[in-house]
């Protein structure tokens, strides 16, 4: 029983190790995308350091300079960047 538990723990550990970099890469790509979107709107940001997914195509971004933005795609298909307080 303890053997099985140990194997299960190790398997979970391995899975976490494998999944970790993949998630990190996705996260970095998303941050890069958001940084570009905010910069394209001419808004101050510098670099997006954190992204929270609110819904599909709806994100809350935190910039390196402290600014926070909501980035979403509206019904007309336009990317909207709203400054958050």
């Amino acid at each position: 029983m303890t053997n099985r538990t140990a194997v299960l723990t190790q398997a979970l550990l391995v899975a976490a190790f494998i999944a970790g970099p993949s998630f990190a890469a996705d996260d970095e790509a998303l941050k890069k995308d958001m940084t570009a979107v905010i910069a394209l709107q001419g808004l101050p940001c510098g670099q997006v350091v954190a992204v929270k997914v609110n819904a599909e195509n709806d994100f809350a971004c935190t910039c390196k300079d402290g600014n926070r933005y909501r980035v979403y795609v509206n019904a007309a298909g336009r990317v909207v960047v709203e400054k958050q307080r």
């Binding site: 190790q10 494998i18 970099p21 970095e28 941050k31 995308d33 570009a36 979107v37 394209l40 990317v79």
Partner: protein, 229 residues
């Protein structure tokens, strides 16, 4: 059994260690790309963009607004070439003058008669416009992984906005001038290039090569109409 498990774990962890550096490298490249866009970008563009812009600015805005568009575009094409030729000629003539004249003489004769213009053979012919494959360019932009989905959508929005401005201009609705439209076009192209140039240099050079050809389509109302249809 335990040894096998441990060795399996080690192999996987080593595998992950091999993957790990990829993630930090991309943001660094991105940061460098974003920061250096303003400095790196002008290199390929400078020879093309610096020449037409002053001419565009020098062209009276009133004439651009009041005259019909075909004349404006024609006026735009020929004076830019003329000014570019003049500039290159001036560079060629100034360079030898600086080397032959002593510095004191150069200071005193700054307003003196300039050396005669070089022979026509010395002037390099203007570069022929690159062949434009708009559909291929569109496909490349859609497929490139250099920019994210939302960035692409945002760029598309801005392209649509610019197209609308051209539409309004040709319909006489907008108060913008062709010079302003050219400025907006240049800015948009610069944005696209800055996003693409680090990760997809092939696409960036294709865009740079097509720059004037695309402008040719936009600046001519007839060609623009075919573009719309």
């Amino acid at each position: 059994m335990r040894l096998a498990q441990v060795s399996f774990l080690l192999v996987l962890v080593a595998g992950c260690a091999g993957v790990a550096p990829d993630a930090p490298v991309t943001p660094n490249a991105e940061v460098v790309g974003l920061q250096t866009t303003t400095t790196v970008q002008p290199e390929p563009v400078a020879p093309q963009s610096t020449a037409p812009r002053p001419t565009a600015a020098a062209t009276p805005a009133t004439s651009a607004a009041s005259q019909p568009v075909p004349t404006e575009t024609a006026a735009r094409a020929s004076p830019t070439a003329a000014v570019a030729e003049k500039k290159s000629a001036a560079r060629e003539t100034q360079a030898p003058a600086a080397t032959t004249r002593p510095p004191t003489a150069a200071a005193s004769s700054a307003t003196a008669a300039r050396p005669p213009s070089p022979p026509a053979a010395a002037i390099p012919p203007p570069a022929a416009p690159a062949a434009l494959d708009l559909n291929a360019l569109k496909a490349q932009l859609k497929e490139t992984k250099a920019i994210g989905v939302l960035t692409k959508l945002s760029l598309k929005n801005q392209v649509d906005d610019l197209m609308q401005q051209f539409r309004d201009f040709y319909q006489g609705k907008a108060k913008v001038t062709m010079v302003q439209l050219r400025r907006s076009y240049d800015l948009l192209l610069m944005k696209v290039l800055s996003l693409v140039q680090d990760a997809d240099q092939k696409l960036a050079s294709a865009i740079v090569a097509s720059r004037e050809a695309i402008w040719g389509l936009l600046a001519d109302p007839k060609k623009f109409a075919t573009l719309e249809g």
